[in-house]
């Protein structure tokens, strides 16, 4: 199982060909082998959601997936949210509503919220809180995260 094999990952539309052991988690490969350290590791057992990335558009825990399972699938991380210098509406809303303090959980929340709203643009407040409950934040008490996501939802719909 420890024999390395070559795989190609597509992260934010860029191809990365890397040699990895089959047991290496997707988040470790994204961070250490592809140098995209915006995706964070908070628990390595799928509870905190700091490592949330979009896999074919679906928010997933990158600590619970092996990198080899992500071959030939599209991975989106926080580094891919901006368009050039232009922040994604979700990023803008997070700073405007003070939805981050230490910022460690932020990439996971951004990807979770963007993934959910791209799929379901009309989430009501209760559904939104339900989805945001998948990830943990230890600084903000969530209130400003919820506000930011609501505001971004309106922006995203307007731009869609």
């Amino acid at each position: 199982m420890n024999e390395r094999r070559e795989i190609t990952l597509t992260i934010n539309d860029v191809l990365y060909t890397v040699m990895v052991e089959p047991r290496r988690t997707l988040v470790d490969v994204i961070r250490d082998d592809c140098a995209q350290t915006g995706t964070h590791i908070g628990c390595e057992h799928g509870v905190c959601g700091a490592c949330t990335v979009l896999l074919d558009g679906e928010p997933v825990r990158a600590c619970l997936i092996f990198a080899v399972q992500a071959r030939e699938r599209s991975i989106r991380t926080v580094e891919g949210l901006q368009r050039g210098e232009q922040l994604h509406p979700m990023q803008e809303a997070f700073t405007r509503h003070h939805a981050l303090q230490c910022g460690f959980c932020t990439p996971g929340f951004l990807m979770l919220a963007v993934g959910a709203l791209e799929k379901w643009p009309d989430l009501n407040d209760k559904q939104l809180v339900d989805i945001l409950s998948s990830n943990l934040c230890r600084c903000t008490g969530y209130e400003n995260i919820i506000k930011a996501v609501r505001a971004a939802a309106i922006q995203m719909k307007a731009q869609a």
Binding site: E21, E79, Q91, L110
Partner: protein
């Protein structure tokens, strides 16, 4: 356009910290790597107490990629981890060794360190290290009789005592006595980022570097230099982004020492990242105390005396804080109330659990719960309302500054300013307490289990004695502020920039704030005890005033104006009436460069240093109020309405203050209802994942109304500010207990935190009987 200065203090500007964090370009400890680095993995004790007979390393050493495996014998020259406040002979025997030598005392204690070329390999090899341990008996309850420690000592390391007056006589005079036995569970900060440390030795400069430092880099440099017998000149600490501090992050732990020693010995950088399970059993725990407290009151409910004996569950060793949590608990227990006689004895006891230290609002979260439960009990005993019993005992604004013959954090308690009753009135009115009381009565009649709670508290902030800042204006006009402060995500850079911007007349986005680096400024006390904004902002203000004076002086010469006719606006020195020529701060810095012919006899550079010294801490205060509903079928508690009223003296950035309060509330709610490091009777930890240790999610944390007031500026610093870091968390256990108890009929049934559904359900079932 007038040249009036732009206001930055008191404005909720967006944070300077946010941009890199939003785009995935933050730099947390795990994001840092150096060429040729090794990876460290710690082998930890699986046993809560035992004699270490043998460590078998052969299988682990045979794993390809393993460079070395260390046990205690490899670090015999390193002393146990020292106290930040310096040597303490009495407590010294209880300090933690870097690696366990003959005895292990808690599950998670470092026993060996594996160094390998790859983190997966290091972990594989660590799993192959086998330990032979002869089990010994364990102590898991600090309120039971002490056990032995190291053969000659007992697990009662010390007893912290404070008090004044004649408590015995007071109890003899009392019209009524109320007595409670109250416990707070074991919980901790549990930041989302686990700990991380990278040691690096730069032989070319003979400098040993610790990356991933946090909270108190300068103080830790002093401790580490003392432990290593190394000059501070050859030892530097570097803070990166910190994924939550909360008191526990940034203390010196065994792993920090090991990466430094290894970096020196291997001449290669050594990186260590904690995994979540390790964090739950290795990073500081906090809070766990049992109080046996009694109060003597007169017939009108006035406190005459409090007598408290409590048992503090320190865990297996005494770490960097020494007895600080217990000392603070003793000094802060009386809260906002007048208290003629007081006696407290805190039994500082070791147990076979993960060592404990500070967690946001240490010693106050616990004692606010204890004291406010006591106030509710007094109200019940004397048939007074819970609001009234508090009102009768509050220290009045006319009595400020109010000196108490007590000590907290080594500082005499002098409550500098406050209108406690004024804030209580405002909070009660805005919360609509009396209307809700009527609602609650009506809803109970229809069978609902609803209740109201309130708690009052005094926080402390701005621990001195001295902090500094150096400001340097670059020739492009960028203002660099070099501080000895630290950032744990609270918005430090933004608020320091706002203060400097206001005084220097520049846009706050032109200010860069340096923090957490021992190589940029000689001294600093970092970010702890809600001190960073109070201390560093005042130091920065002093430095900024000097820079402003120097800029105006230089500009007056160049513009041929009187200094008094000049001011600074938008980064330019201009005439106050906005007429005539102007000159930018950048150009002034250019005129002040060493080789400048216009500099005259002024010292080179548009730069100055400022130091702020304070004799005492400053004390913000607050009221927390809650309305809760219990589900009688499950015992689940839902918070229907929550308010935190808090007087911060003067808010530099109100949005950030609110953020601190709401975020702190969420942590306090965890401790009140969900979070607990549970242990079985053998000392095995039962809460080792985030699926066992339940941090509140967006579904559990309610909306919190914040009533932020600025009625009582601090009298102890020129900016008049008080700290906001801990006011949100401080009384959450107290207020939720008060409300849940009320929902259960106000019988004083809630005596312990966290209040689990099992406890509530059992209480409800008992009420039905």
């Amino acid at each position: 356009m007038t040249a009036g200065p732009t206001r930055w203090i008191g404005v909720s500007v967006e944070r300077l910290e946010d941009p890199p964090l939003l785009i995935g370009r933050g730099q947390f400890a795990g994001d840092l790597s150096f060429p040729h680095q090794l990876h460290m993995r710690i082998v930890r004790s699986p046993s809560a107490h035992g004699r270490l007979k043998a460590i078998e390393l052969a299988a682990a050493n045979a794993v390809p990629g393993v460079v070395a495996i260390w046990t205690a014998n490899d670090v015999t020259h390193i002393p146990p981890i020292d106290f930040r406040e310096g040597p303490n002979e009495k407590l010294a025997p209880f300090r933690q060794p870097v690696l366990a030598k003959d005895c292990v005392r808690y599950v998670g204690e470092p026993v060996a360190a594996v160094f390998a070329t790859d983190p997966y390999v290091a972990e594989d090899a660590a799993d192959l290290v086998s330990l032979q341990i002869d089990e010994l008996g364990v102590v898991v309850d600090a309120s039971l009789a002490p056990g032995e420690f190291g053969g000659v000592l007992t697990t009662e390391a010390t007893i912290c005592r404070q008090g004044y007056g004649d408590v015995a006589a007071a109890f003899r005079q009392a019209a009524a006595v109320v007595e409670l036995d109250l416990s707070v569970g074991r919980h901790s900060g549990v930041p989302l980022e686990t700990r991380g440390a990278i040691g690096r030795y730069d032989a070319a400069r003979d400098v040993l570097e610790l990356h991933g430092a946090a909270k108190v880099p300068h103080r830790n440099r002093e401790t580490l230099a003392r432990m290593f017998g190394r000059s501070t000149a050859g030892l530097h600490l570097y803070e990166s982004h910190v994924g939550g501090g909360f008191g526990i992050r940034g203390e010196i732990y065994p792993e920090d020492i090991l990466v430094l020693v290894a970096a020196m010995r291997f001449r290669r950088p050594v990186k260590w990242l904690e995994d979540r399970r390790e964090h739950m059993i290795a990073a500081n725990h906090s809070r766990q105390q049992r109080h046996r407290i009694r109060a003597a009151v007169d017939g009108d409910g006035h406190l005459i005396a409090i007598d408290d004996e409590f048992f503090h569950d320190q865990g297996a060793y005494i770490r960097t804080h020494g007895t600080r949590v217990v000392d603070t608990a003793c000094g802060m227990l009386p809260g906002p109330y007048r208290l003629p006689h007081f006696r407290v004895a805190g039994h500082f006891r070791l147990t076979n659990k993960t060592p404990a230290a500070t967690y946001r609002s240490p010693g106050r979260y616990e004692t606010n719960f204890v004291r406010e439960r006591l106030m509710d009990a007094i109200a019940r005993k004397l048939d007074l309302s819970r609001v009234e019993v508090r009102r009768r005992n509050l220290i009045s604004s006319q009595e400020m500054p109010f000196e108490r013959p007590l000590v907290a954090l080594g500082d005499e308690v002098v409550l500098d300013s406050g209108d406690y009753e004024g804030l209580l009135d405002k909070a009660i009115a805005q919360f609509e307490w009396y209307k809700l009381e009527v609602d609650v009565m009506r809803r109970r009649e229809s069978g609902e289990h609803v209740g109201l709670g309130l708690a009052m508290f005094v926080e402390k902030s701005g621990l001195g004695p001295t902090d500094g800042a150096r400001i340097n204006v670059h020739t492009d006009g960028v203002v660099e502020v070099i501080t000895g402060g630290a950032s744990v995500g609270q918005g430090f850079e933004t608020v320091i920039a706002q203060v400097c911007a206001e005084i220097l007349g520049v846009d706050y986005r032109r200010v860069r704030v340096v923090h957490g680096r021992t190589d940029r400024i000689e001294y600093g006390i970092g970010a702890h005890a809600t001190r960073a904004t109070v201390m560093t902002a005042n130091a920065a203000a002093i430095a900024a005033e000097k820079v402003r004076a120097k800029a105006l002086n230089m500009a007056a010469q160049l513009l041929q104006q009187d200094e008094s006719a000049l001011t600074i606006a938008n980064g330019d020195v201009v005439r106050t009436d906005s007429t005539g020529a102007s000159i930018s701060l950048g150009d002034l810095a250019h005129h002040l460069r060493p080789a400048s012919s216009t500099r005259g006899d002024r010292d080179p550079g548009l730069s100055e240093e400022g130091w702020f010294t304070t004799a005492h801490m400053t004390y913000p205060y607050g009221v927390q109020l809650a309305l809760v509903k219990i589900d009688p079928g499950t015992g689940a508690i839902r918070i229907e309405k929550m308010m935190i009223a808090f007087d911060v003296g003067r808010a530099i950035n109100p949005t950030l203050v609110r953020g601190q309060l709401v975020g702190g509330f969420a942590q306090g709610l965890g401790g009140a209802l969900f979070e607990e490091f549970a242990y079985d009777e053998a000392g095995q930890p039962l809460s080792v994942t985030l699926a066992d240790y339940l941090i509140p999610t967006a579904s559990e944390v309610p909306h919190v109304d914040i009533l932020l007031t600025e009625d009582a500026r601090s009298k102890f610093n020129p900016l008049g500010i008080k700290g906001a870091g801990e006011g949100g968390v401080a009384a959450v256990g107290a207020v939720i207990a008060s409300a849940v108890d009320d929902a259960l009929g106000g019988k004083g049934l809630i005596l312990r935190l966290p209040i689990t559904p099992q406890v509530v359900k059992a209480a409800i079932d008992e009420l039905k009987v």
